[in-house]
Symmetry: C4
Subunit: 240 residues, 4 copies
């Protein structure tokens, strides 16, 4: 294992902790993965474990069929096909988070599309599709390859998608972008939800969303400021 | 007292702490019990005490008439008849939680039935009846046997029931399942409440609920992951 | 100063801390007082200070005209006339809390009366009047005797009253009851607010409220359980 | 550098911490500045950094064209033109906070004006304009002088203004007033938002707002009580 992969595993532990504390991976369920920087046909993901509890030794390596390449007697997440099927189809995706943040749930079960309302949501200016094509025999979870494939196709080249009555999938061109995208989607969904309760809000225009995504969240300066902030919070709370 | 009962008492203390920190037993009131694993005609329950404050020595043993079998000068919960009457009628129930979580209150006082909206609520796919047959002279609490019996009949073989303007009763086939069921009902009720404010959501179908309950929450892997997570949170916060 | 007064001052410090942590006296403003147990023509109240910061030496003694009897160069709360005018008229009131809890605000500015929805609110079964007869020149605060008198008359023998666009006054037959009444009003107002957003809820009947107030909150056992819980929370958080 | 400027820098670090903990500068973004007490043609502002992370050495000095006068290789906030353009036009403004508090967002994207509902909001009795004249090519942020100037003109002599889909700008005649104004706007906006969900509330009249602003928040006693409270909270949490 090279230095890059080791670094990616350490960063993935941080990402699990950050997303737990930011109430994205708020319970015992949901997960975040990163493509192996040393082999793009593999990805790194914790074993079946609550995100808050993930440590370096819990990170296993998987191939793009979802097979665990790490020798272990520990269980894997049943829903790892979400990750493998998306990495297989989307070469630009380098990190994936699947979570059940409560702020997003209304947009998965109502005929009200989530749309960027504030600059935080500009990342999703191209839209967020909703998946509702469940294999009922598998109990609302995405655990077989066929369903994983359907989910990956529904996502297409978008940065996020909802699973009706279940949760959300967010991608990123890097692990840090995936963390940022996941957190900002929650903040912006809260903003949209709050505004919708009082009336019909003015959303970001497509062009406002696109330029904000590019000129604000796409800048290294913004990304560093945000990542360092989340890491500082963990340190202050004695969690790293 | 055998090892099994000792272990059950320790776990009941943990359960009290977990449910306090997860904002289910969020105040000085409400309680959780477990059937005595060494004698199914008895159950274990704290003396009259706020759940947050419960320690091993506060756990008393009761028979199915609600009589305290522990020699003590301490007071018992007035509402212990809820537990005794349900254990008497439902041999498969091994744990009962009575709480006043605020997320559930709207569904006890409105003509809007709580129904599973997200996978967290699948546990309650068979429905949650509402009790509204109070003995007014007893001030909204369930403290006499007649009323305890009426409550137990209203529950039937369901996993949860609401008490109008008061709270909820949740059961489980084990203590850990009762803890999980109680926490997940709150999460799912929040999801339903939030969605209902913006429109009419698409709920889980009966079959989706049933398979999700069986294939997801019914699996030992899910239950362990959740229980270990809640215990880890207590440890991190120095509460166990 | 006798032992009873000393004890009352210590308990008043605890009450300030409890109400801060329970988000009733959540900001730098609002206050709670207790009648002097050794002289019913006097009451004890902190000097002008955020409730969170109140210590034993900050508690001053006032007469029923609002004059400070403690020799000091420190400032008094401008709104102490609320306390003096109510103690003067209501011999059964032994403690008064004035707070701005946000859960109550909607009921002070809308034509929707707050009414007990859950057992927590039964205390207020007799109704909660709304004061809206401000002396505009005094900027929304109750700081002159005339206005204090109008407020006391509006309260009458009720246990709570709202001040439009400002806050609430809650009384108690003892300090501990005043703390309980203040906290439970917030919980029940949250319950009513939440239910009202989805429809027209079924409230407690007058008789349900009256018996619940008498048989549940009126019992020493309930009061002790609640008070000990709030004190335990402070201790756990290292605040006493 | 004289003593006054040093003191102002220390207070600005406190202000950043307070506003982070009070959930005004709740994320990695947003900022607060103060006019240099030793040279009114300069202002003090942190380098590009999350407010929670700001320390004494991060505070740089800027002129009224937004040029950084501190020798450094660190980056400045892109949106510092908000501060420079307002200080240039408003000699009575001595402190400016730009934040994205979520409670305010609905009032920036709906045709519902924010108006003082409770005494906390009286500060803004003269109204809060909404800016919606973005330079789309700059991605929702205010980072060029032209747009900074348009924003400053929209603000005029008001104490606060909203930026559609982005956030808010709050000013103060001193740093401490700006902190108070920023926190109280959030509390009052929450109050208004909550009330609007149930009906049409009775707002403060213009005269009520004006006298409350003058006689309550304008008093040194109120300002000291609030500032000392926020500093005490930081100390208790070990953050200063």
């Amino acid at each position: 294992m090279g230095e890059q992969k080791k670094k990616a595993k350490h960063e993935l532990v941080q990402a699990n902790n950050i997303l737990y504390h930011e109430k994205v991976l708020f319970e015992a369920f949901g997960h975040i993965s990163v493509r192996n920087p040393e082999n793009s046909n593999e990805f790194l993901l914790s074993r079946s474990l609550a995100p808050m509890c993930v440590s370096y030794e819990d990170i296993f390596t998987y191939d793009l069929e979802g097979n665990c390449l790490t020798e272990t007697d520990k269980q894997s997440y049943a829903e790892r096909v979400i990750h493998s099927e998306i990495y297989k189809r989307n070469p630009n995706v380098h990190s994936i988070c699947h979570n059940h943040a409560q702020a997003l749930m209304p947009f998965t079960v109502l005929d009200i599309p989530y749309k960027p309302l504030s600059h935080y949501g500009a990342i999703f200016y191209a839209g967020v599709p909703v998946y509702d094509n469940y294999d009922v025999s598998d109990g609302m979870l995405i655990r077989n390859k066929d369903e994983g494939e359907r989910v990956a196709r529904c996502l297409g080249d978008k940065k996020g998608m909802f699973l009706r009555g279940h949760g959300v999938i967010v991608t990123g061109e890097s692990l840090r972008r995936c963390v940022m995208n996941s957190i900002f989607m929650v903040i912006d969904a809260e903003n949209q939800y709050n505004a919708l309760q009082l009336g019909t809000p003015k959303y970001l225009s497509y062009e406002e969303g696109r330029t904000c995504d590019e000129k604000t969240w796409g800048m290294a300066l913004s990304q560093e400021r945000a990542w360092n902030f989340w890491c500082s919070k963990l340190e202050r709370n004695g969690k790293v």
